[in-house]
Symmetry: C2
Subunit: 245 residues, 2 copies
DNA sequence: CGGTTACTTGATGCGTGTCAATGTTAGTGG
DNA sequence: CCACTAACATTGACACGCATCAAGTAACCG
């Protein structure tokens, strides 16, 4: 019961805060069927090649999307916090072209495609909000492309730490100068395209430069402006300001 | 007149081929207002920071999206062929977080946001098709992230050439073993995150390996299977197979 | 308490960037 | 038709960022 309420709350809160929905829209969202599951750290939630029949709403915990190369190398494509639906694209792209994994223990609500499809088919305002979510996803992908293509290892790590700081704060999961990021250095490396060993060196350099401290799953900002300047971080791409009604 | 017909044709053909639309849906698409413009090579169609009031449908030519860094470095985010709408996301994300440029002379049809918004608000089937387009866009971004993060320069170039071969062929713009790609080596480098000079070296190596020949704006495939194997190219991420009705 | 996982540090080498010089091609005007 | 130019492409020399290998430390946990 507890978890069910939380799951619905996440989605409804998100939808309500995002735009002015009619009472009918809200009611339709509330009536979405779903199943809550608790998943241990490390498991694949959906796998590359799967044809899932439901979408996964993150209720709590940290989730990532990734792809594996033939040689065993891994590239993390995105991180997803509570309230997000990382595989919303599976509603329209039947076959998964990547995997979804739990980085921490995760509580997730699974919503059947059929119900979601009916919802977006009959409620254009809800569809617009969800569509917009997938577009912000794509905007973040674009920014990652810029980082991977044109920024140094140190800038990439700094940029990612800035992005996550802003996103964690936006959902109330970050304090003023620190947030919890339960991620290994290997995972960081797989996200920014460098080796785990070099992550260690870069984090040391960032610490020595007095910019940020990453240790024990906690990120502590020492000099936010310096971090922003180093990584050329501009939060516009996150499109966090609410759209005009 | 000629161009007007062509623009409508591109869009209607695309929508019809993508799914079963009702006659009313098709009629609604046909009644979209738009303005056709011919743009010279090199111009920015939309700029980072803009708040456009219309979307750009590529009727002919080659378009790219890109971002500039403070140091003047450029990262190309995507290429767009005839029939695509590269800035469809501006329907829901008001402020552009990147720019859109004409790589070749381009003929484009501009469709007002208001009309598009009305269309997707009243025609869920049309909305679903356009939404799906933006999701495929995102899938391509993901694959680029993998390349930039985890592939060598040679693999990245080979992968891009594979991707474009498949996409050009899908819209009937490629022969069996060659296609026209009017792109400079600097632009290639900006897309795959390497210097223009190294592009030259990589293209020589690809030629010497008997895989592909890039010269004078034409890509000639010498050994498709070898190219696919080298770059680990798997076209699934392009989601070219039509969705089931 | 032994084994596992995560992290750190140093040594070495490769891949790619950068700089500089040269070659090639297409376009332009006399 | 040729001289001139500008843009694009090629090649070599050198430097540097990061990968990789190897060894060692620290924290955790059955």
């Amino acid at each position: 019961m507890e978890s069910s309420i939380a799951a619905h709350e996440r989605l409804v809160t998100k939808l309500e805060s995002d735009s002015r929905l009619s009472d009918e829209d809200r009611e339709a969202v509330r009536q979405l069927p779903f199943t809550v599951k608790d998943l241990p750290r490390g498991v694949d939630i959906v796998r590359d090649g799967d044809r899932p029949a439901e979408c996964c709403l993150v209720v709590s915990g940290l989730v990532c999307r990734y792809k594996l190369l033939l040689g065993g190398k891994r590239q993390i494509l995105s991180f997803h916090l509570a309230g997000e639906i990382p595989d919303l694209q599976s509603l329209f792209l039947k076959r998964m072209d990547h995997s979804l994994a739990a980085i921490t223990p995760v509580r997730a609500a699974f919503i059947p495609h059929a119900a979601l499809r009916a919802l977006v088919g009959s409620r254009p305002s809800v569809a617009a909000i969800l569509w917009r979510e997938t577009l912000i996803d794509a905007a973040i992908f674009r920014e990652w492309i810029v980082g991977l293509g044109r920024r140094t290892a140190m800038q990439r790590v700094a940029h990612l730490l800035c992005e996550l700081a802003v996103r964690f704060r936006a959902v109330g999961l970050a304090g003023d100068h620190h947030y919890t990021l339960p991620v290994t250095q290997s995972e960081l490396g797989d996200a920014v395209g460098i080796s785990n060993i070099h992550v260690s060196r870069v984090l040391r350099d960032l610490r020595d430069a007095g910019l940020v401290l990453v240790s024990g799953g906690t990120v502590t900002t020492l000099n936010w402006d310096g971090l922003v300047e180093l990584s050329e971080f501009d939060p516009d791409y996150l499109h966090l300001t609410r759209p005009e009604p």
